[in-house]
Point group: C2
Chain length 334, copies 2
Amino acid sequence: MAETNLQILLKRRPQGAPVPGDFDIVESAVPQPGAGEVLVRAKFLSLDPYMRGRMSDAKSYSKPVELGAVMEGQTAGEVVASNHPGFAPGDQVLGGFGWQRYSVRPGAALFKMGGDSAPLSASLGVLGMPGLTAWKGLEDIGEPKAGETVVVGAASGAVGQVVGQIAKIRGCRVVGVAGGKDKCDYAVKELGFDACLDHRGDLKAQLAEACPNGIDVYWENVGGDLQAAVLPRMNDFGRVVVCGLIAEYNDTVARPGPNLRLVLVKRLRIQGFIVSDKDGWARYPGFRQQMVAWMGEGRMKFREDIVQGLRNAPEAFIGLLQGKNFGKLVIAVD
Amino acid sequence: MAETNLQILLKRRPQGAPVPGDFDIVESAVPQPGAGEVLVRAKFLSLDPYMRGRMSDAKSYSKPVELGAVMEGQTAGEVVASNHPGFAPGDQVLGGFGWQRYSVRPGAALFKMGGDSAPLSASLGVLGMPGLTAWKGLEDIGEPKAGETVVVGAASGAVGQVVGQIAKIRGCRVVGVAGGKDKCDYAVKELGFDACLDHRGDLKAQLAEACPNGIDVYWENVGGDLQAAVLPRMNDFGRVVVCGLIAEYNDTVARPGPNLRLVLVKRLRIQGFIVSDKDGWARYPGFRQQMVAWMGEGRMKFREDIVQGLRNAPEAFIGLLQGKNFGKLVIAVD
């Protein structure tokens, strides 16, 4: 275990796609916990598409990361030293520690893990923010009913794989969309999706074939060409859950979106959300219990793409925005 | 009273804006009611923007009017002859009789009026389909809360005037948008809106001034430039009630719409609806009772633009799509 801290800072705001030079990698002293604080050593760092938004200073739902500050991110780690009665060295904890090896946080900002058999890294994906995002978005907006057709973009990604599997459990026809044969095979053969379309092919024709009864729920992770191909196939009273727009995050000029005549004529509901809205993490315990149960029954699978070494986080993140990961992208922090 | 029927038929489908030659005006024999049927003479015909959709064969929520068929429309009239036990000559009734003087309909398709003091023509506007549209859309989608800012397009129109007044009763700041000083003065001085913006002016600047706390509910009657100016000013968790897009109905090519990044970042809800959705007219009795009560208290005003003579319906309808009417457009059927 290293005895210095390692931190990845935002050096400058990207123009379009981020490049390695937008980040600074620095070594610094390990911080010391003050009163009520806890020193945590990260074991896993979650990399997620929303972080692209934090790198820009365009208005968004959260403040941008300041230039020169540690990149934000959720981390699972182990307590090294504690000045908080609720935590002791060796405890496994979850929190927003950022892209760094060591961090000091108030005990109240930590969530203690270990009540069930799930591996620690899963709490950053299927059992973490992406999983809860899928759960809440389907429950509150998607409202899939048995027999309906659900289309999920980025189907093998952290959120998409959970969305599709919950929709299958709810009795829906689930059609994923992903980049390339391997991801599509995984979605159909491992996750049990009814079909998965390669977005590099002719989306319009593939959607027509895979969704003969139209589309009732579109889980929007992607935007761009996929959105344009899906929306005209929506059924009356369809729901579009706007969770992400990964294909557009590097755009420097916003693309035109859908004309709202479609929304009127088909009485669609298009709604955006983020996991921390409304009741925030209040549903997390119930979510986790059900997900762990499904995992035990083999009905909820997950795939992680674990990259070794914190220094590789910038490159891995750049690849995430290009769809190079296969499964939930996690950094194993050395 | 004329002894022949007068009918306005759809002659051809408009290219862009409708022109008088798209309609046929014909005289024919007065029809005779069969078993269980009622002969009604129209007194008032409602002209509404949705009818533009019925003239096209593009897929929409209702079938188009067939070429050569009577134009669809809701009418208030008087029973002339009845073979149905529920109706007698002289009864005032409401129904979808179309653009014609006389019509025969099954008794079950009629709604008998006259239980309260409201004038007959009001049942085509403030107490009719447009009023119920405002009521249901606000209740189900807009959900205005006291202190919120509500922006209403086509503010002096049949739906807009009711939307704004209900929102005022609910304690909202109401900002209308209309075409010209007279309509805006009416919205503010008569209907009690907090402000009304002339869409012929600089909408962006006017909205910034009139909505210092942003916009929580946008009642979309218009589309086009107004939509583009309003959406960037929506507050987090704002609702866009997509009721109509009158500025776009004559477009032959759909305009680009809003990029959904806004929906994601602000967690907007954009939802379309039509009055007949879900429970249809089941809420009509409660709606009418409340509206008549508000009218009695002077809290619900309405303005009608009554055009004399059924032969003038095509020209009046063409003007409606150009915003030439001032208040709910109704034809007094001669």
